[in-house]
């Protein structure tokens, strides 16, 4: 059932306009990589709100990934500072700062090290507003952490822990796919009145280069984007994985399969409507993420779409994900949900 007249050019859909957000996807700007785009967002955030702070391990000199370059020099060491090596302290401190009406932009050096802060995130940040009857909130808290495969990271520099956080009512989880997206999404996260965990694909810090508008702009949360239109199968992903999926879509197109690719962007709360509308059109769904397949966020998407689109489905939902092992070093190329795995899954889903 391959669509023979597949659209060969990429079509970008525009994010819906809210909060006065401008149409950013066609704007030009400076060519920036991911860490520079994030750096710009942080500069803007601190510049536009004098009660905002950036802190974490090693952020003072610019951070191990250079995302915080220039901030301490420009805004002072009272607003941009190193913390002791203690994630539970960093996040706990950030919650207290946010609870007093400040914007606390916290950096966790690698997502692999976020777990000591898990108690603070789940039991304090996520419940702060609810348990107080809305007398208090720590909405000004944003936690940034580099996540994902980097080619040589092994167990403790490659993890994708988003699924743990998607199971926590009260926080938001956001993952950008590119520099331009990252800047707009990060500013939205910082200004969103709820605590947010923002995972940055470290693989793209230097690898991804894109035109990024230099002004202050925000991309709305909880709105997925169809970044490639198609008719035969819907693919859903986030972060760095989308680049891989895009390549698989191009490969599939050569074989006459028209793929629709969706960037979820916000995993919690996620935009079910956009995915549902797409699957009702295509009748097929494939989800891909680096995190291990069992209990991964793909399972949530699959279950929800089954509930909503059962009779429209032509094939089972396919998940092309990381394997159920700790992230291996030498075996990384075998572990990863690569382009050929995705292509194979597209074909078997279409030929089901």
């Amino acid at each position: 059932m391959a669509a023979l007249l597949g659209r060969s050019c990429r079509k970008l859909s525009f994010p819906s306009l809210s909060h006065g957000a401008r149409k950013v996807s066609t704007e030009t700007g400076k060519s920036l990589n991911l860490y520079s785009a994030i750096n710009q967002a942080l500069h803007i955030a601190l510049d536009t709100d004098p009660r905002s702070y950036v802190f974490g391990e090693d952020v003072g000199f610019g951070g191990v990934f250079r995302c915080t370059t220039g901030l301490a020099e420009r805004f002072g060491k009272n607003r941009v500072f190193n913390t002791p090596l203690c994630e539970q302290g960093i996040v706990g401190f950030g919650i207290g700062l946010a609870a007093m009406g400040n914007r606390a932009i916290v950096e966790i050096q690698f997502a692999d090290y976020i777990y000591p802060a898990f108690d603070q995130i789940v039991n304090e940040a996520a419940k702060f507003r609810y348990r107080s009857g809305n007398q208090f909130n720590c909405g000004g808290l944003t936690i940034r952490a580099p996540y994902g495969a980097v080619g040589h990271g092994g167990h403790y520099h490659s993890q994708s822990p988003e699924a743990f956080f998607c199971h926590v009512p009260g926080i938001k989880v956001v993952i950008p796919r590119s520099p331009r997206e990252a800047k707009g999404l990060l500013l939205s996260c910082i200004r969103d009145p709820n605590p947010v965990v923002f995972f940055e694909p470290k693989w793209l810090y230097r690898q991804a280069v894109e035109e990024v508008p230099e002004h202050d702009y925000m991309i709305p949360l909880s709105e997925a984007e169809v970044i490639r239109e198609g008719n035969d199968i819907t693919l859903v992903g986030w972060g760095a994985q989308l680049t891989i999926m895009e390549q698989a879509c191009l490969d599939a197109e050569k074989e006459g399969i028209s793929c629709e690719l969706i960037d979820l962007k916000t995993l919690l709360p996620w935009d079910k409507e956009t995915v549902e509308a797409s699957v009702k059109k295509t009748g097929r769904l494939l989800i891909s993420h680096e995190a291990p397949v069992t209990g991964g966020f793909g399972a949530e998407i699959s279950a929800t779409i089954l509930e909503r689109c059962f009779l429209k489905l032509e094939a089972p939902v396919s998940r092309v994900c990381g394997l159920d092992t700790p992230f291996p070093l030498v075996f990384e190329p075998f572990y990863m949900p690569t382009r050929n795995k995705i292509l194979d899954a597209i074909k078997s889903t279409v030929n089901y």
Binding site: P50, R51, G60, F61, A72, E73, G76, K77, N78, R79, F81, N82, T83, P84, C86, Q88, G89, V91, G92, F93, G94, I95, G96, L97, A98, A99, M100, G101, N102, A104, P116, D119, Q120, N123, E124, K127, F128, R129, Y130, R131, S132, G133, N134, Q135, F136, N137, G139, P169, G170, K172, P193, N194, S222, P269, K272, E273
Partner: protein
């Protein structure tokens, strides 16, 4: 090093301390000085002003410049070396710092066991008005606790935890603070709210989770919170509030408020990672936060001997560079004085303070606990009678002519009546509407919650008998 300091003359000691002070820089921040920093007008010297950054600059051992260190006179064995973190003197002796001092840190108290003022004691004077309010609030807290406890036993309340025996810590500490000081409690400090004006009715509303509960019926009893009174909502997780308090203190510091953050926790809480994280952060950030530990001897059934092996909690402050004091938590006047003094230091010097208040948990851990299963009732009884914080303070205020038997019985009968009425009203008040289950998870309910609310309402419609009838739909 510590042993040398104690045996030195005081002049030598202060000279040495000055040298150490100048050299214990915040090494990691010198990275920032690589870049030329502009003198920005909005960048006040709020941090590190007392300890200028002096990273090590000399890798060669220098001869010691002081005349002597301890007993040894041979100068060639005494060198001072620069390491990251500052200069340290060398010693050729293999000597370990003892795991504890031979004497325990003394406990500050002002009133003796009989409520008599100890001669030459230092304390902060309280006015009659404040002293009478302290005492009255201790009595109120005691009565409130007893009545709520009984209500739970009678099945009217699902759960309760008393603060019996710790009234002086609760009330006297609150009295020494101002309403602008922000409180991060554990769960045994309702007295702080009481002091600030939370009414018996408001306490009862939360315990019954009715529609007047500020927490909207979401949490168990005693999980109070009041933004009006600057008292952050209780969460049952132990010690998680400590790092939060440090962040809040930093906010006060940056906003240049004449206020501090105060956080309470028990002896058990000091074993949690968050305790260590918080103290370390507070010291590094130079945050105006007061850590008040209610060392009441028990963490549910765990005595302090199974909790830590240090000389209590007070000595842990020094490990983090925090000024600390041990106080008799059952001496309201000492508690008041210690907290008052600590607050002054915390704000004027922008530093954290650790207060270990020694006391005893007279009540059970909570209504889910029967502490006679792990401790003798004699022990409980002794602390309740002979070491009672209320009677000691009462003796003192009576000796000043500020209290009487008549005032006592008037107060007790009034509070008891008020309390029973508050219970009655709270019990009769309806629960919050079901929609309150779905609000405040986020600032605005997301679509999944709106969907779920519809589904729940449908289910309740179809099977009303399976759902509590006192929750309005």
């Amino acid at each position: 090093m510590a042993l040398h300091l104690r045996s030195s003359s005081s002049l030598l000691k202060s000279t040495l301390l000055n040298i150490l002070r100048q050299n214990l820089g915040f090494g990691s921040r010198s990275h920032v000085t690589r870049h030329i920093r502009q003198n920005l007008p909005h960048d006040p010297p709020l941090r590190g002003s007392r300890n200028p950054i002096r990273r090590f600059c000399n890798t060669v051992a220098e001869p010691e410049t002081l005349s002597s260190f301890g007993q040894h006179e041979d100068a060639s064995n005494h060198q001072v070396m620069d390491f990251p973190g500052g200069k340290v003197a060398f010693t050729p002796e293999i000597r370990f710092i003892s795991e504890s001092d031979s004497d325990r840190v003394p406990c500050y108290r002002v009133l003796d066991d009989n409520g008599q003022l100890i001669t030459n004691s230092q304390f902060v004077q309280v006015s009659e008005e404040v002293a009478v309010k302290i005492y009255s609030d201790m009595v109120t807290l005691q009565i409130m606790d007893n009545i709520f406890y009984e209500a739970q036993r009678q099945g009217r309340l699902s759960f309760y935890a008393t603060a019996i025996g710790e009234e002086a810590i609760n009330i006297a500490s609150a009295a020494a603070l101002t309403p602008q000081d922000v409180i991060f409690p554990q769960y045994r400090e309702p007295g702080v709210l009481l002091w600030r004006g939370f009414t018996l009715q408001e306490f009862a509303n939360q315990c019954f989770g009715n529609k007047s509960d500020y927490g909207k019926g979401r949490q168990m009893p005693v999980h109070y919170g009041s933004n009006k009174l600057n008292y952050f909502t209780v969460s049952a997780t132990i010690a998680t509030q400590l790092p939060n308090a440090v962040g809040a203190a930093y906010s006060l510091k940056m906003d240049r408020k004449d206020a501090c953050a105060v956080t309470y926790f028990g002896d058990g809480g000091t074993s949690e990672g968050d305790f260590h994280a918080a103290l370390n952060f507070a010291a590094v950030m130079e945050a105006p936060v007061i850590f008040i530990c209610r060392n009441n001897g028990w963490a549910i059934s765990t005595p302090t001997s199974d909790q830590f092996r240090s000389d209590g909690v007070v000595v842990k402050g020094r490990a983090y560079g925090i000024r600390s004091i041990r106080v008799d938590g059952n001496d309201a006047l000492a508690m008041y004085s210690a907290v008052h003094t600590a607050r002054g230091m915390a704000i004027s010097e922008q530093r954290p303070i650790l207060i270990e208040a020694l006391t005893y948990r007279v009540g059970h851990h909570s209504t889910s606990d029967d502490s006679t299963r792990y401790r003798s009732s004699d022990e409980i009884e002794w602390w309740n009678k002979a070491r009672n914080p209320l009677s000691r303070f009462r003796t003192w205020i009576e000796s000043n002519g500020w209290w009487s038997d008549e005032a006592e019985s008037d107060l007790r009968s009034r509070i008891k009546k008020e309390m029973l009425e508050a219970l009655r009203v709270a019990e009769k008040t309806e629960k919050p509407n079901l929609k309150n289950m779905f609000s405040d998870v986020y600032d605005v309910p997301p679509s999944n919650l709106m969907e779920q609310e519809l589904l729940v309402r449908q289910t309740v419609n179809s099977h009303p008998q399976d759902y509590p009838s006192d929750v309005p739909l």
